[in-house]
């Protein structure tokens, strides 16, 4: 890349795209579309990380989001009983609280962005950031990351144990009924 102008232009493109797609997450009327807009927003953030020379982190962020968003879309559609995810619906709830939370977090982040003295410390291009990150992960920070890794692994094993059909006490869905597609009126006791 020749000079920082290209990087600057790319940064603003990705930044604007992330914000716009992030906004569209709440303006669309479908679960699946919302998940894909969110994915696009994260891809923009990942691309910005790549521009910041955190190449590995940026690409891994994009990689992880692909799987996550698909799982999220599938789970959301599953819970919403809307198998295609095409039925229109509102993506925004609790309007007053949402507006207040949005304003407060925007103000807070703006204050941080304007008042903090960010370090201006460009990375030496000869440094292989990926290799440096590897040494960091398996060097000084190894304990932290291994602890987090084992905790995540335990969570995953626990989630699978909870979700699995066969357990110590027999088949989990024994005696359960398929959910009704129509909403039935509850009988009063």
């Amino acid at each position: 890349m020749n000079g920082s102008l290209v990087v600057d232009v790319l940064f603003w493109c990705f930044a604007a795209a992330s914000v716009v797609t992030g906004y569209l997450v709440f303006r669309t009327d479908s679960m699946v579309r919302a998940a894909f807009w969110l994915l696009a927003s994260f891809v923009g953030v990942g691309a910005i990380l790549v521009l910041l020379a955190a190449e590995f982190l940026g690409v891994v962020l994009i990689l992880m989001m692909a799987g996550k968003m698909l799982i999220m879309a599938v789970v959301m559609v599953m819970f919403m009983m809307n198998p295609a995810g095409l039925n229109p619906m509102f993506m925004v709830h609790q309007h007053r609280f949402a507006v207040a939370a949005g304003v407060v977090s925007f103000a807070g982040l703006s204050v941080v962005a304007l008042t903090v003295d960010f370090p201006d410390d460009p990375v030496d291009p000869s440094i292989d950031a990926t290799a440096e990150l590897g040494f960091e992960l398996l060097g000084d920070s190894m304990l932290v990351f291994q602890t987090a890794g084992v905790a995540l692994l335990a969570t995953m094993v626990g989630a699978i144990a909870l979700a699995s059909r066969d357990g110590r006490f027999g088949v989990a869905d024994e005696g359960s009924l398929e959910p009704m597609l129509e909403i039935e009126e509850l009988e009063s006791p």
Partner: protein, 310 residues
């Protein structure tokens, strides 16, 4: 310092390589089909069939469905083709010659593979039609199961190279190819790689049992773009397999790029021929096999190759 081509040259070379690869897939498929069924002669007509199919599809009228998601439908094949191009771009052709050789080349390839499921899901979801939607969910299950063994099998090749750059992975195979060093790697990679590009026995999202699955509503240019992107993805998987397991440009007598092309062709023949030689697999046994067989085998592969390096 890592090598990158200039943007214009990069796009042009990836486009040319992709077109050649897609044509190779089509021709190999034609030859394998005729050999397997014993019907039809193998002659010049095999070479002319792909352009004939393209011409036919270009003249066909496109389907429209009720309340489809138009942009999603249009983006899906473009996304899949773009992912194939991204995956191809990080595959080195010869020492020091690659479209892009980032230090995270392997991760870039993995990202392209992970986004295939986004493309396929979008493609099946957008037409607002039953069979495409079933295909989309089916590929979700298929992709989430096969990506872990696929990436683990490939990750093992990064161990001897001590680098995530594909150029270094190939460079480290000078004395011994990874196919010998990690005998489990290539079989897992190929089996699952056929599933990544949903081809032949693992064409579950677009299978005949779903009347064409995610592409059931595709006709004309829609189908052309989707088939092109799918074949390009298969080619990209074969090319990366040749680089990561068969030693890329390494080989006696012939120059590096020729070896690379031969090895890619070799893997491509194996993968494309499965469509005519291997029976269809049902999704349930495949998903179970991924989680209970391929992931443990891929982990054993990583542990053994790691232990051998220590």
């Amino acid at each position: 310092m890592r090598t990158y081509l200039a943007p214009g040259v990069a796009v042009a070379s990836v486009a040319v390589v992709m077109a050649v690869g897609v044509y190779a897939v089509a021709v190999i498929d034609g030859i394998a089909g005729r050999l397997a069924s014993g019907a039809g002669r193998i002659g010049v007509s095999v070479m002319l069939d792909p352009p004939r199919t393209v011409a036919l599809l270009l003249m066909q009228r496109r389907h429209r469905t009720e309340r489809a998601d138009g942009p999603g439908w249009a983006i899906a094949p473009a996304l899949l083709g773009g992912l194939a191009a991204t995956a191809l771009a990080v595959v080195p052709v010869a020492r020091g010659t690659a479209v892009a050789d980032p230090s995270t080349g392997f991760v870039v390839f993995a990202t392209a593979i992970a986004f295939v499921m986004i493309a396929v899901f979008l493609h099946g979801w957008s037409p607002n039609s039953l069979f495409p939607l079933i295909g989309a969910y089916r590929y979700g299950a298929q992709a989430l199961s096969l990506q872990i063994p696929f990436l683990l099998a490939m990750l093992a090749t990064a161990l001897p190279a001590e680098s995530l750059a594909v150029m270094d992975i190939v460079e480290a195979q000078g004395d011994l190819w990874n196919v010998v060093r990690q005998p489990l790697g290539l079989p897992i990679y190929l089996v699952v790689g056929v599933g990544v590009s949903f081809w032949g026995p693992l064409n579950l999202p677009d299978g005949a049992d779903l009347v064409g699955g995610t592409s059931a509503e595709d006709a004309g240019t829609d189908r052309l773009a989707w088939e092109f992107a799918r074949a390009a993805m298969l080619f990209a998987v074969a090319a990366m397999g040749a680089a990561a397991f068969l030693g890329g440009w390494w080989g006696p007598l012939l120059p590096g790029p020729v070896w690379m092309a031969l090895k890619t062709l070799c893997l491509l023949v194996v993968m494309v021929a499965t469509r005519h030689l291997v029976a269809r697999v049902r999704i349930e046994p495949f998903v179970v096999a991924c989680w209970t067989m391929f992931i443990p085998l891929a982990l054993v592969n990583i542990f053994v190759s790691g232990a051998l390096l220590l």
